[in-house]
Amino acid sequence: MTTVTPTLTRSTAAPAVQTNGHHAAASPTMVEVRDLRKVFPKRPADTRPLWRRLLPGGRPAMEEFVAVSGVSFSIQQGEIFGLLGPNGAGKTTTIRMLSTLLEPTSGTATINGYDIARQAPLVRQNLGAVLTGERSIYWKLTGRENLEYFAALYHIPPQTAKQRVSELLERLDLANRADENVERYSSGMKQRIAIAKALLANPPVLLLDEPTIGLDPQSARNLRELILEIKNEGRTILLTTHYMEEADQLSDRIGIIDQGRIIALDTAANLKRSINQLDSLQLEVENFEPSLVETLTLMPTVENVISHSGEPTWSLALHTTDSRALLPEVIALVGSRGGQIRAMQVAQPTLEDVFISLTGKQLRD
């Protein structure tokens, strides 16, 4: 079980940090998002049988659910922009609007200069997107058949298509399994076919929704390298993730999104610097007295305390403005209540810490 116990010293809704200006001069803007909002109509579950539902009247009243609440950012050519946020933050909804699968409730966005609402076909021509990963391709077809099929749907002339498909299969290291049914591929290979599909039309912009989700660590690492290679071809990439290491490693800039809003936007380094005055003090304690969490939280230099109760070892992470002064106090306090400290370290802040200090909660639980 994980609990985050924030103190009240910091506001939980910090204003977004905008630093778009740094990059604007260098290269053209490929993705421009202005105040994008999505409100889903939501009807409370209707439990009546189908025949009754098909008749008019008697339905529960509609409610509204704000999934994306005024998101703005822009991405320059050749840049990887990471949207980092917890489950339900609105990452997928944002990407689905940009890829013309969803109509925004308000706001505008352009991809390579084309408006997502008024020029949807042109947007789709300039865009490769991987939304549902390995579920976005046909498992009963071979890798090559999948790509040739989608090439036709992208209106790529047959001769060009054949060549492009072979080239991509080669490039993504799938050539020797290209004529096997996808159902026999590993998750990593399926994901690569999905990415190859997105690259078919040689689009300048790529949208990747949680590209490494469900992959084993090795495949995930390979895929991240592939994403960096794709970026180095000059493509512009928007990716979403709820792995902070991934956002950190891949993104030139990161937008931290929570509850449909971007609450911070900058390079990973700048984001971490913004809470540099905070250290993260991490402890592993046996026989920990749970009521101490409250006491620790109330100590003057402590910003918040995250505790994982484990048997027999508890892990604690304290954000503090002064780890030097705090360290001996914590050791004494924990010891006085019978706790034995098994491990301890003072860590540099991570993006996770940035998120916690902005929202008072953890990215993942």
Binding site: L101, T132, Y138, K140, A152, L153
Partner: protein, 284 residues
């Protein structure tokens, strides 16, 4: 960075063919359909045929009334024709309707709709493939009745039979596309298939002359295109009707053939727009 997209009318047609071809490849890789295709054409009408045989009595004395109402004593061909049209509608409902739903559930629907191809082209391609397999199914039906019962179920003027089929195809696929759109929207394909095919089964005179139905049911039957198609094919094969005699049956069928594909297109477009607003497409 130059994209490889080159849109034209020809490329849209190629996309439609690619969809049909993909459906066919996937279809081939689920071999269970072969058994179904061999088994059902004769098995399905068999119940009605045997019931008829029992009611007709050992000497066939009971068929007099049937022959009077149906205009032919050949009850095997009569029942087989009605059931075959019904089966065709049925496999189209499952086929076109459920293909869309399956794509929605598997996650491939959205990945198709990310492409610049027209969204209706996907449905058209799927319908093409289903039409091709349905024609195979019809051929198998014809051969099996010949082998098993020694009855040639389609006979008479081939040109007229083809005319009825040509009018029936747009009706069946129009209904299929309307049905597929509603399945995307309501997500309860099984209940909906039972509803639609129940209507066809009862009201269209699949196994009996419409005259045996109560008056209000005959009125309902007038609003279902399959009623006219079944009647037309029976009139041609079993009574040797001429084009002039068929005209009153074929005129309503022609109207349905013109309207249903348009209605299918409209339903699909409305569903697709609505899904883009509510986000219902990606859910399952």
């Amino acid at each position: 960075m130059q994209t490889l997209v080159q849109r034209s009318f020809a490329s849209e047609l190629r996309a439609i063919l690619a969809v049909a071809n993909k459906e066919w490849t996937i279809f081939r890789r689920y071999p269970t359909w072969i058994a179904a295709f061999l088994f059902w054409p004769v098995m399905f009408p068999l119940a009605a045929i045997m019931t008829a045989r029992a009611l007709g009595g050992p000497s066939g004395a009971g068929f007099g009334a049937f022959a009077q109402l149906a205009g032919t004593p050949d009850y095997v061909a009569y029942i087989a024709l009605g059931n075959t049209v019904y089966m065709w509608m049925n496999i189209t409902l499952w086929g076109v309707g459920l293909t869309l739903r399956n794509e929605q559930m598997r996650g491939t629907l959205e990945s198709n709709w990310l492409c610049p191809v027209w969204r209706i082209s996907m449905v058209v391609g799927q319908s093409l493939q289903h039409l091709a397999t349905s024609l195979v199914f019809l051929a198998i039906t014809f051969v099996e009745f010949w082998l098993v019962f020694g009855v040639q179920i389609v006979r008479g003027n081939v040109g007229l039979v083809l005319l009825v089929l040509a009018l029936l195809v747009p009706c069946i696929y129009g209904i299929g596309i309307i049905f597929g759109s509603l399945v995307l929207r309501f997500k309860e394909p099984n209940a909906m298939v039972f509803l639609v095919r129940g209507l066809v089964m009862i009201f269209c005179g699949v196994s009996y002359p419409l005259a045996v139905l109560p008056g209000w049911m005959q009125t309902v039957a007038q609003y279902i295109p399959l009623t006219y198609a079944i009647q037309g094919i029976r009139d041609i094969g079993l009574r040797g009707a001429s084009l002039a005699e068929l005209t009153p049956t074929l005129m309503p069928l022609a109207w349905f053939a013109a309207l249903l594909p348009i209605l299918g297109f409209v339903t699909f477009t409305v569903t697709e727009r609505r899904a883009r607003r509510t986000g219902a497409l990606g859910q399952y």
